[in-house]
Symmetry: C2
DNA sequence: GCTGAAATTGGTTCGTG
DNA sequence: CACGAACCAATTTCAGC
C-alpha cells in the first residue's frame, strides 16, 4: 500500500469506469503494471467490489432516517442483529458508545413505510426499550468515498 | 423504471463488474438490449457513477464516529455546510429533526485524529454550540446498496 | 516488478424483424 | 423496441529487461 496504490484507490473510488489507460496516467505506470496493481488490490481485499452508485431519489427511497435504539441489557442481541442485517432498508447498523445501544441508518419510500418499519420491524424485536427517530431534512453531503490514509506499510 | 430496470439496478449494485452477458441473463434480455437499458439508466441519472468499494480498515480509516451537532439558531449555516463538504473525513452530513441540528458520519485513522477533528475542524466552526460523539464499537451492517422500489412509473 | 506488443475477451454499432 | 452479427476498443497475457 504505497503512494501509487493510494492514488489508484482514490481514482477508482471517484470513477471506476475510467479504464486502465486513464488510470495508468494518474499512477505513473504502464497499462499492464497498473492492471497488476488493481488485481493485487482486489486479492488483498482492499477493493471489495465494483458497484453502480445509484441516486436514492431515482431508486425510490428518498426518505432518510437515523434511528437510535436502546436494547435491554443482558439480553442476547444476536436475533436483533440478524434482523437488522436481513432488512434491505437498513443500510447501516452500528453498536455505539453512550446512552444508546445501536444507531441505524434507514432509507425508505415514504412516511407510511417508516411507520411500518418502526412498528412491525423495530419495536417488534424483543428487548427494544427506547427508539428515537432522527429524520433527515436536508442532506448536505453523502458519499461512500473513503479518505485513503497515506503511506500505510504492507 | 420497470421491473427489468429494477433487476438491473439491483444486480449492478451487487456486482458492477459482472459484464453484459451475465447481466442479460438476470434481465431476461439480449446483450445489446441490456446495454441500451444500462445506458439509459446512466443518462436518466439513476446510475450516478461506477465506483470501487473499499474496505475501510484496509483503506486506513478503521474508526467510525457519528457526531450530533447543535448550531446556534439564526446563524448563516452556509459556512458550516461548506466546511463539512470540504472535509474528506466527513462521509455524511445531514440536517435533522429533533434537538440537534446536524448529524455527521466521520471516518478516521485513530483517536488522535478524532481529537484533532473535533477541536480543529468542528468546534472551530462559528455557531457550533453542542457536540456529542457516538463512537461505533461494532459495525453490524454497513452497505451502500439501496433498496430499489418496485414498479415506479417513468 | 515494470515494460511493450501480441492475443483475446469484452462492449459498441449497425441492419433487420 | 428487441434481436444477432460484424466491428472496434478494451483488458489480459506473455516474453524480455
Amino acid at each position: 500500500m504505497d503512494e501509487i496504490d493510494r492514488n489508484i484507490t482514490v481514482a477508482l473510488q471517484l470513477d471506476g469506469s475510467a479504464g486502465l489507460a486513464e488510470l495508468a496516467k494518474v499512477a505513473g505506470l504502464s497499462v499492464s503494471a497498473t492492471a497488476e496493481r488493481v488485481k493485487r488490490l482486489e486479492e488483498r481485499g482492499v477493493i471489495r467490489a465494483w458497484r453502480a452508485d445509484l441516486d436514492p431519489v431515482a431508486a425510490g427511497c428518498p426518505l432518510l432516517v437515523h434511528i437510535l435504539v436502546t436494547v435491554a441489557p443482558g439480553r442476547d442481541e444476536t436475533a436483533f442483529r440478524m434482523a437488522m442485517r436481513r432488512q434491505e432498508t437498513v443500510l447501516e447498523c452500528h453498536a455505539i458508545t453512550g446512552d444508546w445501544t445501536y444507531l441505524l441508518k434507514v432509507r425508505l419510500a415514504d412516511l407510511p413505510a417508516l411507520d411500518a418499519f418502526l412498528n412491525d420491524e423495530l419495536r417488534a424485536q424483543s428487548g427494544v426499550q427506547r427508539v428515537e427517530t432522527l429524520l433527515a431534512i436536508a442532506t448536505v453531503k453523502e458519499t461512500s468515498i473513503l479518505p485513503v490514509a497515506p503511506a500505510t506499510e504492507e
